[in-house]
Subunit: 204 residues, 2 copies
């Protein structure tokens, strides 16, 4: 993941060399090979911030820190910590006075998006965001198909409520094709979801 | 800070028993003794969320994870990680369609707030928030005086720019008394900063 220089500084892999776990696959087009959705979104958000277009960030992973060492002449080292369940979504920020809040998910499935990828607390959080007049949505990538959609929260919420009422546990690709917007990948920004968000806002 | 039960679950101290570092001091009134500003704000934000009044959270501390162990039958343990510099402020969220973004700081000084408590990247972040029509401010506690103020970003920014132009490196208490709003501590919510934010918005 990263290593530590002798001076205590931490090596941070550049985004385009990081995810060794996501090897290019033969059925993925050149445009996306080797990149995770998270990398694409981080690049995009950096582009938005650098160009004053929006101010949207991924939140850090919540950690419960138990033990920290303070070595002489180098940075504090966390020696025992645990991952905590996030109480909110991963991304939020502001564009033109609008509060933006979203979650990004990838699925390996070629036919549907399994709702087990979403947690109840994320649904509840987004419901609260909508009550406060924020803009909530999901970005979902079908990684084997190299297709990425931006789905309004209402679409995901409807499927969630259907599931809770005994309905199906996944959202078919066809539902994304009909009720979500497909995002095309570009160079800069990598994945210009803000254009679709503007449409969502204009159509409200 | 916390310890780990044999079953791998992590003990999380309750907010009102946590900050041993902030011992009650004789010159601090009963209302605030033993509580850090962060505890007060977390309680307040929990109250806002629980009552559907706003959706504002503290962001997790950013960590660079280097080594993780996966013991059998218990939670993953982070064995080497480092603190990273946050690129944004600590708190953000949404109220009634407004994007809310703030930083909370405590000072031991009885006479002025040292600007070294603020980092350049936080100023730049808040400037970007204001460009995107978000609401940015600081909550500053003079802990020895048991007084807490909410200061519009513009007040802090002005002092920052003065400092960069060779001016003083701290903001006198009198400036807070004149240009910020003092917050009174209550029970629920603990520190009702949202009421002042509403005034800021109404006066824009």
């Amino acid at each position: 993941m990263a290593f530590r220089y002798p001076n205590g500084k931490v090596y941070q892999p550049k985004q385009n060399e990081s995810p060794a776990k996501k090897k290019p696959k033969t059925d993925i087009s050149f445009s996306n090979r080797g990149k995770s959705l998270e990398d694409d979104l981080n690049e995009t958000n950096d582009f938005y911030v650098a160009n004053g277009l929006a101010n949207i960030y991924k939140k850090p992973v919540p950690i419960q820190i138990v033990k920290v060492e303070y070595p002489k002449r180098s940075a504090a080292v966390i020696r025992e910590a645990y991952f905590r369940t996030p109480s909110t979504t991963d991304y939020n920020g502001v564009w033109n006075g609008y509060y933006i809040d979203f979650e990004a998910k990838e699925t390996e499935s070629k036919t549907s998006f399994p709702l087990k990828n979403i947690h109840l607390h994320q649904i509840k959080h987004m419901q609260a965001v909508v009550v406060q007049k924020g803009i909530a949505f999901f970005i979902v990538r079908f990684s084997k198909l190299d297709r990425t959609f931006i789905a309004p929260f209402r679409m995901i919420e409807k499927a969630w409520l259907d599931m809770e009422a005994g309905g199906r546990k996944s959202i078919p690709l066809a539902v994304f094709e009909e009720f979500a917007e497909e995002l095309t990948l570009g160079y800069a920004p990598r994945i210009d979801y803000l254009q679709v968000v503007k449409k969502f806002i204009a159509n409200k």
